[in-house]
Structure formats: structure tokens, C-alpha cells
Homo-oligomer: 156 residues x 2
């Protein structure tokens, strides 16, 4: 059902059809993945919701970041981030420290518990991914990773 001659550049119509098929597949599979992601994440770590986990991870990586940075990076509304942070703070996973240079700003840091939770959650997530990708060759893993990077970075 797919074209079998990827290197034959003589027929642009065939090439277009090939592109269309591939793009359709990418579209369908990415959509399917997105649909299932939340359920999968909930199964992997019922304790820490997906978004909270993600924000906590970012706070850990970019120690001292601000709520606005998180909102910009994840394309979320300020209010959403604010509430997520409230949750994380209530759980004792994140600290909001006032910035001495700018009293509007809250500098975010993971607490001890936050770092520990993050480590545990990341380990379990990583294990799940490892298992799922166990029979992939390293070359395939590397290529898949680079495609995903390229795709995500092509965001306008």
C-alpha cells in the first residue's frame, strides 16, 4: 500500500502520495498517543499527576525559575501554573521563595521531598519506557529520539 521506491525521484506525484501517507500515519499515531498519554501517566504514578510531575521536573532542572517561565515554556495560562504550584506546595514538594531583587517574583525550588519524589517517579517512568523499548536497537532508539526532537522543535 505504500510506495516501494523511495529513491526514484522521477515521479513527483508518487512522491507526494508517499508524503501524504506518511504524514497521515504520523498524524494518526501522534493523536493516538496523546489520547492515551494521560491514562498511561496516571497508571504509572497515581500519586503525582502528569502536569505536576512535569512542572516539578522543570523546576528541578531550572532551579530558581519563576511561574511565568513555566507558563511560557509549557504554553499554559498563568492561573493554571499558579494552581499547580499551589498543589505542589501543599504536597510539600516545592518551595516558593521571594526574590529579594524583585518582590513580585517567586523563585521556585524543589524541596527535599520534591526531589525524592521526582527521583522515584522518574525512575519508574524510565523503567516503564525502557521495558517498552526493550527490543529496539540502539540505532533505532537514537533515530526515534532525534525525530521526536526535530518534530517538537518545529513548533511555531
Amino acid at each position: 500500500m505504500t510506495t516501494q521506491h523511495p529513491h526514484d525521484a522521477q515521479t513527483p506525484r508518487t512522491a507526494e502520495a508517499g508524503r501524504t501517507t506518511a504524514v497521515d500515519t504520523i498524524e494518526r499515531e501522534l493523536t493516538a498517543f496523546a489520547r492515551r498519554a494521560r491514562a498511561t501517566a496516571a497508571r504509572l504514578h497515581p500519586d503525582l499527576p502528569l502536569v505536576s510531575y512535569t512542572l516539578l521536573a522543570h523546576i528541578h532542572d531550572q532551579q530558581g525559575c519563576r511561574a511565568t517561565d513555566l507558563a511560557a515554556h509549557y504554553m499554559l495560562d498563568k492561573s493554571t501554573v499558579s494552581r499547580q504550584l499551589t498543589t505542589l506546595e501543599k504536597l510539600g514538594l516545592v518551595e516558593r521563595r521571594p526574590d529579594p531583587d524583585d518582590h513580585r517574583v517567586q523563585v521556585l525550588h524543589p524541596t527535599e521531598a520534591g526531589a525524592a519524589t521526582l527521583t522515584a517517579t522518574h525512575a519508574s517512568r524510565h523503567a516503564a519506557y525502557q521495558e517498552r523499548l526493550a527490543d529496539w536497537s540502539e540505532d533505532d532508539l537514537t533515530r526515534f529520539a532525534s525525530y521526536l526532537l526535530r518534530y517538537n522543535n518545529s513548533r511555531t
Copy 2:
């Protein structure tokens, strides 16, 4: 950022490190994609929510499927599907027909309007993906598509 310690042959550490890096990237990028998917979908077609679109598409492809089939396929609760179908029916996009052979069952079919909406939405989605992937070679598209298929099909 890659490990600089080429271990001696005693342990398979080097190969493992490569795998770990790649798997980490895949994990991170897929997570990032999942988080943004909803917002992106909303931007692409504000009229038809992502989930409804997906269900409608499945109903169209598998004409005559039942709510239970949808729930199983998308790992959703029956109640969720039921409510989504209620929405789709209210919008006039889906018909629930009683099954003469089993009066518990409702057989699902897209309406004319449903099929039309689906066509339009699919076209706009496809165009968005085409644009975003415009500078990818066909080979890369094909490989990316096959990786996604492989990944999604490895679901346990």
C-alpha cells in the same frame, strides 16, 4: 552531555548509557508532546474537541461499532464514552441506532453532518501537519511514521 566514561568491557555500561540517553529523550519529548497536544488540537479546530474528533473518526472507520468498543480501544471508561457520544449526538454528528439483534446495544453511525465535519477537520489537521513537516524528506517521514507505529503497537 553524553557520558564520558567509556567503561571497560567488564560491564555493558557503554551500550546501556547510550540506550538510557535515547530513552530519556524519547520519554521527555513524548511527554512534552502529550502535554501540548490538547492545546494544539484546540487551536486547530476549536469547534470539535479532540476527543470527540477521535471518537467520531473511529466511528466513521468502524461503522457500526458500539460504545464498548470505543471504550476498549481508547482505554476510556464506559461513562466517558457515553457522555462523549451524548455530546456528539447533540451536535447532530452521530446517530445511535438500536441493534435489532441485541437490544442492549447501540450501533453507532456518523450522520451526514458528522461525515462532513470529519472530512473538513481531517483536511485542516492534515494541512497543519503537512506544513509542520514540510521540510522533512520523504525518507525521514516514512521512518518517523514507522517508529511511531512500532511504539504505539508495543502497548501491553
